[in-house]
């Protein structure tokens, strides 16, 4: 098989020279040529070459631009080896060429059979070496990942085996103490054993849940949550688990806003942070949790990184431990990142915390000072009850219909039919028009019969919804208008804005339309438009 080469140069004489230098009876080269960068890119998108020679000066783009088109930043690689041909003294071009994936360069004045062949060999070797290195790196990454998975499973296995030891050990104790020959049965003692089994089993379940959260096999179960109540509960547990050396304190702000989170994951997050705090305070210390409401404005937001302005509940968790150097602080949320000895930390604690906060639409900010301690600030968005909650009350009143006549003006056939169905269902008589013009015609034909014009604002044709309303207000005193719009109010041009009270947003549902229609028909006044 011949070795395929591509020469990109707009100067035909240069191309011929290269071809001549590379042609020798003992070498089997097949040389393709391109005069323009675009043409070359086209060829390169279809075919691969053993090496590409590219002139720096091309009519449609320079050689660096061409390299950059093909260079893959993520893998730091090119589809094939490239040799850049440059003029004398253009060091900048040479270093740029190497930066953007070329394997070698030749100064054009020095082109000869030898320099070309050497550059060709060198470029191919450099390219192969780099590719091998990339493959090795990829393999290493994979191995590290597998290693991490291995550590995770063996960590979980270790914890599980401990829990099972507790369970089996206690059942063995129960068995002996409940043996028929036993005379005095200490009920309290038995109850303690049952309790120990129960809590070990629960911890096992918790462990599985951790694992599931981590592997994202379980969906979040989000609830409207009072974080004060949640932390109150968890801090009781913390007092027991962190030991006597750690002074656990919790101060919850009064009137704390609710948030919408998976409560058990929030608990996990607090526990993970608390356990880290304990580890950072081998001689004991303080662990303080505080909550507060906080309205994040632009200024605060810009001083706290990427946090978006809005209302948040802030949970801050501080320890008086060792703190950590900046280099560690930046990496703590990475999965499997741990500074603890093998067997002591999986490095998953904070990555789960981070995952939880992200999925809850929140932010976390960590401040740490070596020798003094660490503070985690978790911002979770305030939960504000949806408007939907108002809907049932509207429904409960059972919206009244009527027998009036309504002219539905809408160019979209489906929207028109939908409106007709709803209104007829409520008892109204309906007429239809597909445009403003048609509506005006209907109005004059049906003199006096129409009570309300229900019209889209934006319609093709000479007469839009606003024009139609103005005509109605002028010529038909007594006739009311209700507008429908698929646009946000503020997106409408100034002269097309209408009063909210006579506007219904699309898509609307049956109840809101019925309520709006009834309300407008029952009102005396009409509203100014435009």
């Amino acid at each position: 098989m011949p070795t395929r080469l591509l020469v990109i140069d707009d100067d035909e004489t240069d191309r011929m020279a290269i071809r001549r230098y590379l042609t020798r009876p003992d070498l089997d080269y097949e040389i393709e040529e391109a005069a323009m960068g675009g043409e070359a890119l086209e060829i390169l998108s279809r075919e691969n070459f053993a090496c590409v020679f590219v002139d720096y000066r091309l009519p449609d783009m320079d050689g660096i631009a061409l390299l950059r088109e093909l260079y893959d930043v993520d893998t730091d690689s090119m589809p094939c080896p490239f040799v850049m041909l440059t003029g004398q003294g253009s060091e900048g071009v040479m270093s740029d060429a190497l930066r953007w994936g070329a394997s070698d360069y030749i100064i054009k004045d020095n082109i000869s059979a030898d320099t070309l062949r050497i550059a060709l060999a060198k470029a191919r070797e450099v390219f192969d070496l780099k590719r091998t290195r990339l493959q090795m790196e990829e393999k290493l990454r994979h191995a590290q990942k597998m290693d991490a998975v291995g550590q995770l499973t063996s960590g979980i296995a270790h914890d599980f085996n401990n829990l099972l030891t507790v369970i089996l050990g206690n059942t063995r104790l129960l068995e002996r103490r409940l043996a028929p020959e036993k005379e005095d049965i200490d009920r309290e003692d038995l109850a303690r054993k049952v309790k120990a089994i129960d809590s070990a089993a629960r911890r096992g379940a918790e462990l599985v849940r951790h694992l599931m959260v981590f592997t994202r096999q379980r969906e979040l179960i989000q609830n409207v949550t009072d974080l004060n109540a949640a932390i109150e509960e968890t801090s009781k547990l913390l007092k027991r688990t962190l030991g006597e050396m750690v002074d656990v304190r919790f101060t919850g702000a009064r009137g704390l806003w609710p948030v919408f989170v998976d409560t058990s994951q929030f608990d996990n997050a607090v526990i993970n942070i608390a356990v880290n705090a304990r580890d950072a305070m081998p001689k004991g210390g303080k662990f303080v949790i505080e909550t507060s409401n906080i309205a994040v404005d632009g200024e605060y937001a810009s001083s706290h990184g990427e946090i978006a302005p809005g209302d948040y509940v802030l949970v801050s968790l501080s320890d008086s431990g060792t703190g950590m150097p900046e280099g560690v602080r930046q990496r703590i949320f990475e999965p499997f990142y741990t500074t603890k000895a093998a067997g002591e930390g999986t490095g998953l604690g904070l990555s789960m915390v981070y995952g939880f906060i992200q999925q809850s639409g929140g932010y976390v900010h960590v401040q740490s000072e070596e020798g003094h301690g660490t503070t985690f600030r978790i911002f979770l968005p305030r939960y504000i009850a949806e408007v939907q909650e108002a809907a049932p009350s509207l429904k409960a009143k059972e919206v009244a219909g009527g027998t009036e006549t309504i002219l539905v003006v809408e160019n979209d056939r489906h929207d028109r039919a939908a409106a007709r169905e709803i209104l007829q269902g409520m008892g109204y008589r309906t007429l239809e028009a597909a445009s403003g013009d048609a509506a005006l015609k209907a109005l004059s034909e049906e003199k006096g019969a129409i009570d309300l014009v229900f019209t889209d604002i934006v319609m093709p044709g000479k007469v839009n919804g606003i024009d139609l309303a103005k005509a109605v207000y002028n010529d038909y005193p007594g006739v009311k208008v209700l507008f429908a719009s698929g646009y946000a109010r503020d997106a409408m041009p100034e002269n097309r804005r209408v009063d909210d009270r006579v506007l219904i947003g699309k898509p609307y549902n049956k109840d809101t339309l019925a309520a709006k229609v009834r309300q407008i028909l029952d009102e005396r006044e009409r509203y100014h438009v435009g």
Partner: protein, 127 residues
Amino acid sequence: MSAEPVRVLVVDDELSVLQVLCENLEDCGFEVSQAHDGEEAVRMIEQADVRPHVVITDIIMPRQEGLETITELRAKYPDIFLIAISGGGRTKSADFLQLAARVGADAVMPKPLDIDALEKTVRELVS
């Protein structure tokens, strides 16, 4: 069997495991003491008037790795029987129980522990 009860020292960093093991071994008629880590265990043995016959130690613990404890005790007290227990190491590929046997454990047992088998092992070692 002599009238003297068999003395067992149990070492585990997991409190719930430590407790349940001790209670079971007491039920078996042994005289049981407990330590939460290797350092404490070594200190207790050094300071005790009577040494335990058997030390049962978990392998993964903070402060002093169980393996170090085993190595140290083996060197200092060749007459104490050592049983290593482990729920599987957290470090890949290394089988801690095999390592424990190599550094001098007389018996190795995986967690979850079979209590009856543990009792049997203790009795066999001291007999």
